[in-house]
Symmetry: C2
Subunit: 316 residues, 2 copies
């Protein structure tokens, strides 16, 4: 089958054997999404060799439990061992022996087929089209913030960054009723937010030491510095991006202001699917372009342009 293969910071479309893992479901990919992590992996953020991609919607074509066959599914990307301390304590996304779809020791979804343990699969409700379902993974990641901390309706929340993940975070945070402001620099990303009644700012007029919760979704030192300046004493600063290398932080001021800094990664799929089913979140507005799998290299080129949101890869 065809697949987008990453090796030594180079991607190529390659013919690879169709995957087959005993005990796992075989899934035919319908649509897959290119995310910032994929772009960072190509740049060498983490050493990975194999088939790229982890955001998908597909169809089960084979599975140990035949009830899955024919189901349209999305899938959690961390395949856990079920036996380690993290797994036994209900933290399978932190399994010490995990493989991660298209990221760590597990071929991903920019291909005709992939495999996953059936425990990782979630059926997609019929009313949710592929174009929306393919966003289940990043939408779940956005919801992870509210899985980790309580966003009160009275909270002032500042989101820094309105890119692929930022847009989904903005949509889900807005549902809490909180006083949300989003730092968005590109006109297109500003307009998407405005269309949902979400207030935007360019960041310059952000009041210092005022925000109860700040979500940093740019992955840049500038974003972090703005977040640090904006957060109020005893506020919570959520780190929701990939950060290259190391950053310098003045920890004495973190202590004096009793700031909480919280790392946030993968989130819960079922609530994401519920929001998609009820159309409370609409990720389809992020779609910038769709390409056939064979045009993956062009798709990656477009996805890497500044201000471009979601680029999808389609099978057949």
């Amino acid at each position: 089958m065809q697949a987008v293969w990453l090796e030594k910071n180079q991607i190529a479309l390659r013919d690879v054997p169709q995957p087959a893992k005993p005990g796992e479901a075989l899934i035919r990919i319908r649509k897959a999404g290119i995310c910032s992590t994929d772009l960072e992996l190509v740049k060498g953020y983490y050493p990975y060799t194999g088939v790229l991609g982890h955001e998908f919607v597909g169809e089960v074509v084979d599975a140990p439990d035949r009830a899955w066959i024919g189901q349209r599914v999305v899938g959690e990307i961390n395949a856990a061992c079920g036996a380690c301390e993290a797994c036994k304590n209900g933290r399978p996304t932190h399994c010490e022996n995990r493989t991660v779809l298209g990221i760590v020791n597990r071929d991903g979804v920019f291909a005709e087929y992939t495999t996953l343990p059936v425990e990782n699969l979630h059926r997609v409700p019929d009313s949710v089209p592929d174009e929306a379902a393919v966003f289940a993974e990043p939408l779940a990641a956005a919801l992870e913030i509210q899985q980790q901390i309580q966003i009160k309706p009275t909270d002032r929340v500042l989101l820094i960054g309105a890119g692929r993940l930022g847009q989904l975070i903005a949509q889900t945070l807005a549902l809490t009723g909180c006083d949300l402001r989003v730092v968005a620099r590109h006109e297109h990303t500003q307009n998407l937010l405005k269309a949902r009644g979400i207030r935007i700012t360019t960041g310059d007029e952000i009041q210092s030491r005022r925000w109860d919760v700040v979500v940093e979704a740019t992955g840049s030192p500038e974003g972090f510095n703005l977040a640090r300046r904006a957060i109020r004493p005893r506020g919570t600063l959520v780190m929701k991006s990939t950060y290259k290398g190391e950053m310098n932080v003045n920890f004495s001021s973190i202590v004096v202001d009793e700031i909480t800094i919280l790392g946030s990664r993968c989130g819960p799929f079922e609530p994401a699917l519920r929001l998609l089913e009820k159309r409370e979140a609409d990720p389809t507005v992020l779609i910038a372009a769709q390409f056939k799998l064979e045009e993956s290299l062009k798709a990656f080129e477009q996805a890497a342009q500044p201000g471009v949101l979601k680029v999808l890869l389609n099978n057949n």
Copy 2:
């Protein structure tokens, strides 16, 4: 009156006018304690000019409400405005206009007298001797951890640092029943912990990625690195010290492991006094030496020696 005066990284015993602030209580200092923050202030950690010192027990000699006169008291160090947003939201220790006893724009307690607003005062129970009451402020700071996060009885908690504040943190954490281990390097600090049945380690054999909560109380990059290594995914790393300059942090790993980093500063006095009254905490074992106020410079010299815990200054 005599006072320990800090100016341009130099301390000196000086004759200064007896303080008098309309609306505040005048307190005769009975005992005061030298803390790491005092030593850091002398080194220039924060630019402060004035009378040093913030840990004390004293006696009210004058006050707007005469009921306070003659009371033996300890005092919260942050004097708040009562009107700013932090104050109105119940965070007076984060008042944007605060002065801080012996630290920010408010003469401290290494003197014969000091003044504080009566709202900052707490009566000391008769059964608590001066030698214990003088520790109310750092004991409250230790309890701030449990004011901020829940320590579960089943939690594995690693405390890094067994100095002045570390000893008090160890005593209060041990009361939760948690599985506590303390990294202590000096024999004397190890022995104090052992005497209370608290388990110690030198840090070398600490298992990585195992501890639910890690409290960093050394203020050193080495302590932070050990903390980062020891904390489990989704664990909480409490920063409980002063940190010089900036530290380099790999935030991608904080995101991937969904670590919480929490700054922790001043804490609640009433619970500290309750623990002292019930003798559940015994800070007096930390006392290394007591000096008269006139011998303050000698006292500071001793307090700055490695491994020396609490040095007290006595009036009269």
